[in-house]
């Protein structure tokens, strides 16, 4: 019996988006509640699936097309330990961003377009995460990407339009690369299902295209994930978007359509080769180090946060890469598992604290009307909740115990040391210290400066819906560190690691062999 909740994860936000468009024309004020209801249902479903699914993974065949002679036909949706976690962060950050938007977006017009695009973006991301064949990944990737282009430009000022143009051009290049790679895969493997492609590739029928396909996919999804040589669009796009959208883009989108797909494809579709593993690790370490160095000189608060997204995603890519290297060498699989667990854990944590930081930045912009750190000052007195939640997020991202960022960074560094990657371990620690420095700068200039800034008006705390989502995210930042406890780690993080480590299992559950 297939679980009927799985397709609803894509169907509900799609229905929500288009119902919002129709009803929003006739009833003013309803779009926000439609979006809120949609995201509430999604959050409930994704947590239900996480709890109920447990370690098992379930496959859903659309239209009931069963595999013929072990060859999958039709569209497959796959819900396993790894996708369950990503679905949860999509819904939770989405729900809190919508709650935040109720007050924040009141200054903008065209409310129904905003919430409709928001739901479409969620539908696209859920589709990417659930899809079991590579062409549907591309289709859903485009749905989420196109709605995010429109959302970045939502303010239609000069900066926003420039940022979205850059984002669109680079996004189109990325989509082209991905489509090109899919064409090559279809040419050499004669199938588009990820599990079936793996079977075809492992039988050796791929020839010279194999490395080209890998490079194209890494470039395409690397552009979406903003790994360092492909990062140019991210600081503009993430800082120009309205703040709840920045939180979604930085907190969720680059993970769901970038990091998730890279990890999924390179662990579950391709045979892990050492060369590719070293390439991925190098790119990860590079973006970790360069991202933070670019971040520290920024004075625009949201640009600073955007560069930190690049750096923190570097941690995730690097630890997945370390896991790949160890798996390719075929030794010490428990350390590989530790590294991969650390990466996934850091991905979850980053969604929580980076989402919170962008919401904080939005709150400061909402109250003080500026994003320039030099013009702020002394906000701790007038905005106590914003100040304290942003302190939580800053400590989390800099890796201070007992917040969640500390534990995931600790796992990554321990795994790197145990795998004898001493240089990478040291680099990760140094990057963490520079991160701390740059967030101390943020805290000092924004909140704890003695002199009042040059804003010249009275600053009040932001409205309740905004506070509510910030405080919830701060609590999540603390609660996520519980995932490191032995009993909880096995039930939440271990299934995700297991599905990535056990390469044969992923394809056997689909082809039924």
């Amino acid at each position: 019996m297939m679980n009927p909740l799985i397709p609803l994860l894509v169907a509900i936000p799609l229905a929500g988006a288009f119902l919002t468009m129709i009803l929003g024309r006739f009833i003013t004020g309803i779009p926000r509640y439609m979006a809120l209801a949609t995201l509430l249902v999604l959050t409930f479903i994704s947590f239900w699936l996480l709890v109920e699914g447990g370690t098992a993974s379930s496959v859903y065949t659309l239209g009931g097309w069963e595999p013929v002679d072990g060859v999958p036909i039709g569209i497959y949706l796959i819900h396993d330990g790894f996708s369950a976690l990503v679905l949860c962060i999509i819904s939770v950050i989405g729900l809190l961003s919508v709650t935040y938007s109720i007050s924040y977006m009141a200054r903008y017009t065209s409310e129904n377009y905003f919430y409709s695009l928001f739901c479409l973006m969620i539908a696209g991301m859920n589709g990417v995460v659930l899809s079991g064949d590579i062409f549907n990944i591309f289709v859903f990737l485009e749905i989420s990407a196109i709605s995010s282009y429109a959302l970045v430009a939502f303010g239609v000022e000069k900066n926003e339009l420039e940022a979205t143009l850059k984002y669109q051009v680079l996004g189109a290049v990325a989509s082209f690369m991905v489509l090109f790679a899919i064409g090559f895969i279809y040419w050499s493997a004669k199938t588009l299902n990820i599990a079936d492609i793996r079977t075809a590739f492992s039988e050796g029928g791929y020839g010279i295209n194999y490395i080209l396909i890998q490079i194209l996919l890494l470039t395409g999804f690397g552009l979406k994930a903003a790994i360092i040589p492909f990062h140019a669009w991210l600081p503009d796009a993430h800082s120009s978007a309205p703040s709840p959208i920045s939180a979604m883009l930085s907190g969720v989108l680059i993970k769901a359509v970038g990091i998730y797909v890279i990890i999924r494809l390179f662990f579950n579709m391709f045979e892990i080769t050492e060369g590719m593993a070293i390439l991925i690790t190098t790119l990860g370490a590079l973006s970790m180090a360069v991202g933070v160095l670019l971040a520290i000189g920024q004075w625009d608060l949201k640009r600073l946060l955007a560069y930190h997204s690049i750096s923190q995603m570097g941690y995730v890519i690097m630890s997945a890469g370390i896991g790949m290297i160890l798996m390719a060498r075929g030794l010490r699989s428990e350390i590989a598992a530790l590294a991969i667990t650390g990466g996934i854990f850091h991905m979850l944590n980053h969604a929580a604290f980076k989402g919170l930081l962008f919401l904080n930045a939005g709150a400061i912009e909402y109250a003080a009307g500026t994003r320039d750190l030099r013009q702020m000052g002394g906000l701790a007195k007038s905005m106590p909740f914003t100040s304290s939640t942003s302190l939580v997020a800053s400590l989390s991202i800099s890796g201070i115990p007992p917040f969640n960022g500390f534990f995931s960074k600790l796992i990554i560094i321990v795994a790197a040391v145990m795998g004898r990657f001493y240089f990478l371990a040291a680099l990760a620690a140094v990057v963490s210290i520079i991160t701390l420095a740059s967030f101390m700068k943020f805290q000092r200039y924004a909140f704890y400066n003695k002199e009042q800034g040059k804003i010249g008006k009275e600053i009040r705390e932001v409205p309740v819906p905004m506070l509510l989502s910030m405080i919830t995210l701060a609590a999540i930042c603390l609660l996520l560190s519980l995932l490191v406890l032995p009993g909880i780690r096995e039930t939440v993080l271990a299934p995700a690691t297991e599905i990535l480590m056990d390469q044969a299992k992923y394809s056997s559950q689909i082809t039924g062999m």
Partner: protein, 145 residues
């Protein structure tokens, strides 16, 4: 945007209906012949666009048209989604299940849900291409004002 000469207007009036009918033909035979919802929908939109180009934008009330086409677009997607959801509620309890009787292959009314899906995809594509066209025209007119 001004309309064109009487010759163009008359010819377009004669042709537009035929183009429209051809679009409907392509959509309805989607499960039997090459083409289908998307191709037919583009042809449908083409007949509207021909009329707008020939008669000019002041003849048509473009903003009103745009509102109508947007609503059709949204309704078509919702109807498509509802059809897919009926599979979840009835029959084999599977999303996108084709639980209607399949009929004899080759006849116009056959293949269960496929013609219905094609019809709604056709409406959706026609409405959205028309909306894009109208949005561009309206945008240009607003700039020129």
């Amino acid at each position: 945007m001004k309309g064109m000469t009487v010759i163009v207007k008359k010819t377009t009036q004669l042709i537009a209906g035929i183009v429209f009918l051809y679009g409907i033909y392509i959509i309805l035979h989607g499960h039997l012949t090459p083409g289908g919802g998307f191709a037919g929908g583009v042809i449908l939109a083409g007949s509207f666009i021909l009329l707008i180009l020939a008669f000019g934008s002041d003849f048509m009330h473009l903003l009103k048209e745009e509102k109508g086409s947007t609503i059709y677009e949204n309704l078509a997607i919702l109807a498509f989604l509802l059809l897919a959801l009926t599979g979840l509620l009835a029959g084999g309890k599977i999303f996108f299940a084709n639980w209607l009787p399949h009929g004899t292959p080759g006849e116009l009314v056959s293949a269960g849900f496929l013609p219905l899906y094609n019809i709604f995809v056709g409406i959706e594509v026609a409405a959205s291409i028309l909306t894009i066209f109208l949005a561009l025209v309206i945008f240009k007119e607003e700039i020129l004002k």
